[in-house]
Structures are given as structure tokens and as C-alpha cells.
């Protein structure tokens, strides 16, 4: 009886090991040879975005272009980038009135509802800040979102569970659940474009040049001159996210 059980165990283990080895080998055959490395090297880039608030006129070109380029869901109104309009009353500077009708996709109503002659009004385009120490990638339980070596936060749509942790973790509200796939979605900094030498769609169409893609590792990038000569600010610096969307002319009332 004892020897039978041992024989059974040994035989069973042998078969198990052999089949799994064969399966693993077959998987490698199926996968084929790895593709030749492309010319783009992640070690040579560190991507960021510069947004000049003084130039933004709230035309909504970026919002429309982003939706078209990235096939962002139309209904409900989710956005990878959107534009907010701030109205600051000088008597109550801590409580700005913010509106963003449909993310600013069709521009803005002609005048502010409670426009006063003394207040100031300005536009703030918002998007994923591609944080160097992003809270959203830290909370993902499966490693479906991550920061690449060139500083872009991406989502693995095939691997995402749709658990919504990252949506809650983002202090900038830049993530949403795509209702078509039930996975997290957000700005990729047009990674499919910038790695081919093109600008992101929002920067390409911006009529006033308020948005500029920046490669901080490229010494010839005009961003270095811009950073030298302007006072830039990031959103929510107290969160220590290492946000890489740099705003010029950002008002203290912006949240």
C-alpha cells in the first residue's frame, strides 16, 4: 500500500513537471523572436508639459483634439484634458467661482454669470500631471499603471481590473473609468505621438501656443529658456507628487 502511494506520487510529479516544461517551451515557440529594438530610447527623454495661462483663451481646441486623437468616450463627458474658467472676486479671493461647461469642449459662454467689473477671470487647462512620484501608480494592486523611464504615467488596459483605486488616489481628478472597457483611463501625453517625434494632439492644435510639450533631458528644447525666464508653478505642490505640468502665471486661487 505504502509503495503504491509513493509510486503514484513520483509518477504524478514526473508527469506534472514534464507537461509544464513542455507547455512553457511551446509558449516560447508561439511567442516567436522578440522584435528588433526601435530607435526611440526611454533613457534619453524626460517628458513634461508647460502651460502658459496668460496665453490660454479657452477655445477648447485641446479638449476636442484630445477626444478625437485618443478616441475618448463621448458620453458621459469624460476627459483626458479639460479647461476650467476661474473667476476671482477681489473681496473673496479664497473662494473662486469655477466653471467648465462640458469640459470647455465647445468653448465658454460669452460672459461669466456673475461677472463684475472688478473681478478677474482666467482659464486653466488641466490634464494628467505625469507625476514623477505619482500616487495613482502606488496604489494599483496589480501593477497595471506605472511610470515609464521617460517620465510618462501609462495604463496597461489589458491588465487593469477596474478597481478604481487610482481614480480615488489622483489628487488632480485626472482619471476616470472608461465605461466601454471598465478599465481606468487618462492622458498618455500622446505617448504614441511623442515617441515618433510628433507633438501631443492638444499642443498641435492649440491656437495660441499656450500648451507646449517639453523634453527636459533635451538641452536644445526651448523649454529650458522658458523655465529660466518665467516663474512657473505646479498644481498642489503640497502633495509632493512631483507633478510635471508646469504652469506659467498660475493664480494662487487655483485648486
Amino acid at each position: 500500500m505504502d509503495s503504491t502511494r509513493r509510486d503514484f506520487l513520483i509518477l504524478g510529479t514526473k508527469m506534472f513537471v514534464m507537461t509544464s516544461v513542455a507547455a512553457a517551451a511551446f509558449e516560447n515557440v508561439l511567442a516567436g523572436t522578440p522584435e528588433a529594438a526601435a530607435t526611440y530610447s526611454t533613457a534619453d527623454h524626460w517628458w513634461a508639459m508647460v502651460i502658459d495661462i496668460e496665453k490660454c483663451v479657452g477655445s477648447g481646441h485641446c479638449v476636442r483634439a484630445c477626444k478625437l486623437e485618443n478616441n475618448v468616450v463621448d458620453e458621459p463627458m469624460y476627459f483626458r484634458t479639460w479647461v476650467e474658467r476661474y473667476h476671482v472676486n477681489p473681496l473673496d479671493m479664497d473662494h473662486p467661482i469655477v466653471d467648465s461647461p462640458n469640459g470647455g469642449i465647445d468653448g465658454f459662454p460669452e460672459t461669466y454669470p456673475d461677472a463684475t467689473t472688478t473681478g478677474k477671470t482666467f482659464f486653466v487647462p488641466k490634464m494628467c500631471n505625469h507625476c514623477a512620484d505619482s500616487p495613482c501608480t502606488q496604489v494599483c494592486p496589480v501593477g497595471a499603471t506605472f511610470r515609464t523611464n521617460d517620465g510618462v504615467v501609462l495604463i496597461d488596459k489589458d491588465y487593469c481590473l477596474g478597481c478604481r483605486y487610482c481614480v480615488q488616489a489622483c489628487p488632480y481628478g485626472c482619471r476616470y473609468i472608461d465605461p466601454r472597457t471598465n478599465t481606468a483611463d487618462k492622458c498618455t501625453l500622446c505617448y504614441h505621438r511623442i515617441t515618433k517625434g510628433l507633438q501631443p494632439a492638444c499642443c498641435e492644435v492649440c491656437p495660441t501656443g499656450a500648451r507646449q510639450i517639453a523634453d527636459l533631458k533635451n538641452p536644445k528644447d526651448p523649454v529650458h529658456e522658458f523655465l529660466r525666464t518665467h516663474q512657473i508653478q505646479i498644481l498642489k505642490p503640497q502633495m509632493a507628487t512631483g507633478a510635471k505640468v508646469y504652469y506659467n502665471g498660475l493664480d494662487g486661487s487655483v485648486r
Binding site: G58, G107, H192, L198
Partner: protein, 152 residues
Amino acid sequence: MKRFKDAEHLLRLAGLFVLGLLVFGVARAELVPATFGTLGHYRAQAIDDVRAKPIGYAGQAACAECHADVVDLRAQARHKSIACESCHGPLAKHAQAPEQLTPKLPVARPLCVHCHAANTGKSKRYPTVDIKDHAGDESCVTCHKPHNPKIS
């Protein structure tokens, strides 16, 4: 084998332990995706998946390759720094096969007012008009040529 005379139950336990390890190893190899962990705690293949997405906007350089005449015309005008696809829309397909896809002409008025409708928030130097008051229902391009909008 004499040394292990009374240790059979221990051997059985060790066998089970090894079997458990094997099951774990095989299950891990099967369940963890192929490129997971090569660059960090994620699937490295996902980067290539994101990159593989087709582009919609061809980029200004692609437009200028064929439409140098328009680029030259605009070089003197106020609209010179605006990319073609800012108004004409995403046209990567047209750039790849110009004969197969002819771009539609944008409808002037709704397009122009996106930028030029007067609203609070725009700088006073920025050219705006009161769209209810300005030119009635007339199309903007009747007077302003979009590639060189100044009326001379």
C-alpha cells in the same frame, strides 16, 4: 535506508512540500505575464501596446510637405503660428493617402467663434467680437480670409 527507519512520515511531508513548491512555481510562471517585471512592477509590453496606437493628427510638418503655398501665405498673417489641423481637423489619413480622403472644408462661423467670441477671461489685447452683434448671420469667411484674416 536504515537511518531513515522512523522518518517515513517526515519524508512524506518533505515530498508534499516539494510538490507544493512545484505547483507554486508552475502556477506563477503560467499566471505572471511574459514581460512583467523586466522594467519595473508592470508589464513592459504595455508600453509598446500604447505606442502602437495609430495617430489621428498628421502634424504640421506633414501638411507643409505638400501645402507649402498655404504655409507661405500664412507666414505673413496673424494666423501664422496656428497649425493647419487646428481648424481642418485630424488628417493623418489624408496625409498618408491624399487621393483617398479629401478633407471637408470646416464651417466658418462655429469654428471662428471658439476663439474669437467675446467672453470674460480673454485678454483685452486678444481680437474678439460680440457674435450676436457682428455681421449678423453672414459667414466669417465672406470678409476675413482664414489664412490671412486681416481685411486690407
